[in-house]
Structures are given as structure tokens and as C-alpha cells.
Amino acid sequence: MRYPSIAAAATLVAALGAGRAGAQPLAQRVSGAGDGRVELRFASRPGVCGDGHGLISTGDQNILRANWSAGDNRNWRRVCAPGPVRVVMSTSHGDVERLRVSIGGTDSDATVHDLGIVSAPDAAEYLLGLARDASNAVGDDAVLAAVLADSTTPWQTLLTLARDARSRDTRQNAAFWLGRAAAASVNGTRLFGDSDAPAETSDEEVRGQAIFALSQQPHNESVPVLIQVARTNSDPVLRGKALFWLSQSGDDRAIDLFGQILHLQR
């Protein structure tokens, strides 16, 4: 099967121990909408903004999820506005073939089946269930949409996805967000919205480059050192960089570390 089935996603949500009464009905509502485009919206985390289309900002990071020309970049800050997470799914024969994420925006046309505002935790659970068996693009965007959802703690499920999701992109994206959450945890910062971090010192730049260079070395030599830096280095900038490159490594020891920092069950 190329695409995850909506029914399967509903089953997986239950299997993941969602426990929330609204999750299964959401999967059923999506399934019940039939083939075509289905839209749902839910509250986003504080610090998240977007242009209503493909650009999403989490404060210190901009995420591109659509075509974007360089000339548009001049207007980026001006148009970045807080808003709900908007997910538009294209379904065919019960499978989600495409999934688009944006913040705000009102460009959906009459052909979209609008499910309206839904509970953010319900949406996150549904999307993470969808991501587990999704193809690359769908799983990747489903993870992003779930992480952007307000009032959610997706880390336990992301830990599972980082190890077991069907597509490599989904596993990598899950690991990326676990690394971000772990960095926020060890440094006592917010996950989103810290866009005014102080400039790095020269020493931090050089050591940060050493962390990057180390990440390019064979994992058996680099990962233990990066874990050591992430756990014990006194500089939060360097801890964050070590966690970032660990999140890119695809190494099981990195995933274990994220679970330990975030106090998650294996």
C-alpha cells in the first residue's frame, strides 16, 4: 500500500494509547468526508506564526513548506501572523495522498470539505497516527502539524515514530523535533518563540564548528562525544548544537538520549 489509510490511522491512534475521546471521531470525520480535499484547523502553540501559505516561523526558525521565491523574502516578517494550524489533506480511495500545513490563511476554495475548528490534542493524535505508516511527504508534514498543535505533548509518540515510522523522512523529522524539545528542556528555554537569542561569541562559533565537524565523523566516534557535550557542557549554545546534530544522526543512541532528557518511556 502506497499511502496510509485513514481507517488504519484511526486504529493506530487507538493503539498508541491516545485515550482522548475526540481522536477516533476525528479520524472518522476525515474518513467520512470521502475522497477529495479535507481541511481542519486547530490552535497553534504560542510563538508560531505564518503567512497563510507555505511559510511557518517558530521564532528562531523559519520552515518552508511550499514554493518560495527569493524576492518574497523581503516581506516575510511583515506577513508572518499568528493563527490556527490549517491542515488540508487530499484523499483518494480512503488514503491520504497529500497533506499541506500552514498557519492561518483563507485560500481554501469551495471544493474543500471543511471540518472546521477541532481540538488541538485530538488533531495531534490523529496526525501522529497518520504519520506512522505514511509516505515521505505526508508523514513529514503530519509530524510538523502535530508539533505545532497547542496544548499537546507529542514527544512520547514522536519517540516511537523516530524509531519505527515507515518512511525515513518521518523518522528524521520526528528525531529533529525530539532534539529541539530536548534542547529546550536542558537549556530551560521555550520550544518556540525564542527569536532573540544573543549572538554567539567567537569561542562558541569555533566550538560549534567543532561539533559540526565531529558530527561528520563516523557515528561510533562522534555520537558518544556529542552525547557527552549535550549532557555536561556548561554552555547552552553548545548543548543545543550537540543535540541538533544528534537529531540529524539517525543513531539510536541519540533517540535514547532524547527520551531520557524528556523523561519518556522507552
Partner: protein, 422 residues
Amino acid sequence: MALTNRAARAACGAAAAIAAVLGAPAASAQTIADRVHGASGDVEVHFAARPGVCGNGEGSMTFRSRSSAEDDAYWSHCEPGPVRVRLTVSNGAVQAIHTLVGTRHHAITGLTDLGAVGDRDAATYFLSLGRTAQLPVAREALEPVALADSVTVAPDLLSLADDRARPVEVRKSALFWAGQVDESDVSKPVGRIAGDSSEDRRMREQAVFVLSQLPDGEGVPALLDIAKTNRDSWLAAKATFWLGQIDDPRASATLRQLVTDSNVSSDVKGQAVFVLGQHDSPDDQAFLRREFDALGTKTLQDKVLMGVAQHGGPDARTWLMGIVADSARPVEVRKQALFWAGQGDAVSTSDLAGLYDHLQGDAMRRQVIFVLSQRDDSSATDALMHIATTDPDHELRKQAMFWLGQKNDPRVAKFLAGILEH
């Protein structure tokens, strides 16, 4: 020295005449075309190869007159015939042709041996396929034409090459084999095709190539003329390239002339610089070094730097390092000289490390770091680690670290871990 095909053919003339008097043992009332037409599946015919041809029986074949002394080992395992042509026949038509020379070969299940055929009959039959069949059969049919003994085929092949009604690939093949058979000097008709601006560009390119392959430098005058005077600079550049591949004093003299002539197009001049740079001749190398400043453009100068660096040797090292150290020159030229010096053996890693300490300016120091990063020896890693630890410029330290990260050296991870411990 190996005989040319022409000489070998003259020596064998008497034997061929006797064979003709005795009558070819494979003579048959049926023509080859009849026998092939009546067959089905894979069939094979064989016939005598012209003098100078040899093969290993499994698809590798050469004209001995064109092989060099280094090919002696190959030649000792090479058989002078027969030519064996395998044809795949379906509904009376030839679908594929594969030509071998020699007797050693793997047996093919289901292959029908149609036996020996006359050389002249074979040449006539396969030439007719070249004239009438579709690609790829027509193209492949011309190889056995060129290999057949006791026949003169160059005029027919040239005629086919001139036939614009035939596919270009067939015409190119005909031209190629006309140049290979070494029956007579074909440089004029081949040169005429090269110079004909109404001809297909692919044919003109092929003609230039064929000129470069003619024996005894027969094609050199035509190539010189094209390189120096043809209005189509792309063709002149091709001719220049092939002149560079010929060991002929006329070619070297003309290539130098093209480099210094201000009226020569940049395409041709660039090609002349390139091919001279590939020559091992100390004279050509010295010439390029002398002309470096007069060349004017960065593109041409880059070609000189590349050629000199690849040639190597003490003169090359001294000259390249002189350019690197010359602060009066543009930084980009100095960087390029350093890059090419670093690619070969002209400059040692310790030279590069020493250079880093003496060079002024970030751009040149960055280039040293990059050049060090491209070296595989452990002393290059040592030099990068030294820079990453001691350079007062943190941007240069960062760059050294970046490239260290790309090194496959177990010491690197320990070194980087050490930096992070402090």
C-alpha cells in the same frame, strides 16, 4: 617497426594471386545473400582477413600497423584471422551483425555455420547491407567490409560516406573504416568533407577525427589547414585538439603558433593551450610558462596552470609557487595556481603548511586550508589540526575544522573531542 597495411598487402600480393588462380575453396553457386536469406536465427560466415588485422576471437580486434610497441603482449595472443561474422536473421532479413577475428571463441547454441565465403563476395555483400539496410545493421556491416582480404574498399566506403541519403551514423562508420583500411591516401576526400560547410556537423567532426587517425601523418596537413584557417571555430578547435594528440613536429609548431596568434579565436586558442599542457615535452611546458602573462584571460591562464601542475617537476614547482607568492598578481590567479599545485606532486604538504604561515590575506590562507583538505596524507591532517588550534583568526580556525570533519582519519574525532573538553 610494424608494416603498414599497404606494405603488408603488397608483400602478400603474390600469395593472393595464387589463391585466386586456385579458386577460393568456399566458392559456391549460391550468393551469401541467398544463403543468409534462406537461414533463420544466428548464422556465421567466415573469410580471410586482410594483412595487419588480428583479433582475440572474442570481439577485440586491431590493425597491427596501428598498434604501438606497448601492445606487443596483446599482439602475441592475437590471431590474424579469419574474420567471422555472426548475423541474426529473421524472416530472411538481417537483424543484427557481430564481427569477430580469430578462432578462439565460445560456442553458441543454435548457431548455424554457413562456412567459408570468398573475401570479395563478403565485402560486396556487407557493403550492400551498408548501402541499403537500416541502422544499426548498416553501420555494423561496414566493419567486415574493412577487414576482408584481397579487396580494395576505400573508394566504395568514401562513396557511401558521401551519400547524404544514408543515415549519418552509417556515413560516419563508412568514413571511419575508409581511414582505417590504409589502402591509399584518403586525406583529400576526408578533408573535403571536413571543410564542406554544407555537410552535417557530425560528419565534419568525424572527418577531422579520421584525419587524425590516418597513418604516417597523412592527415596532418589537412588538420593544420582546418585549425589555422577554417571559419567555423568549433571545427578548428576540434582539429586543434586532434593535432595535440599526434606526435608530429608540424603539429607542435602549429599549436604554439595558435597560442601566440592574436587573430585566433578563443575556442581554438584555448584548445591549443590545453593540448600543449597535456604534452610531456619540456619545451612545450616552458613555452606555456613563458606565454602565461601574455595570454590575458583567466580561462586560458587556468589551462596553463593545470597543464604545468599536471606535468610536475622542479621547474613546474618553482614557477607555480612563484605565482602563488606574487602579491602583485590577482588573488584569483594565485588561488588557482595554489589549487593546481596542490593537486599534483609539485608541492609537498610541508611546503603548503609553511606557505600558510607566510601568506598574507584570508583568501590565500583559506585556499591553503582547502588544498590541505584535498590531500590524503596524515601530515595534511596534522597541518589542519595545527591551524584549527593556533590561528588567531577564528574564521580560519572554523574553516580548518570544517574540512577536518570531512577527513577520514581516526585522529580527527579525538582532536575535536579535545577541543570540546576545554
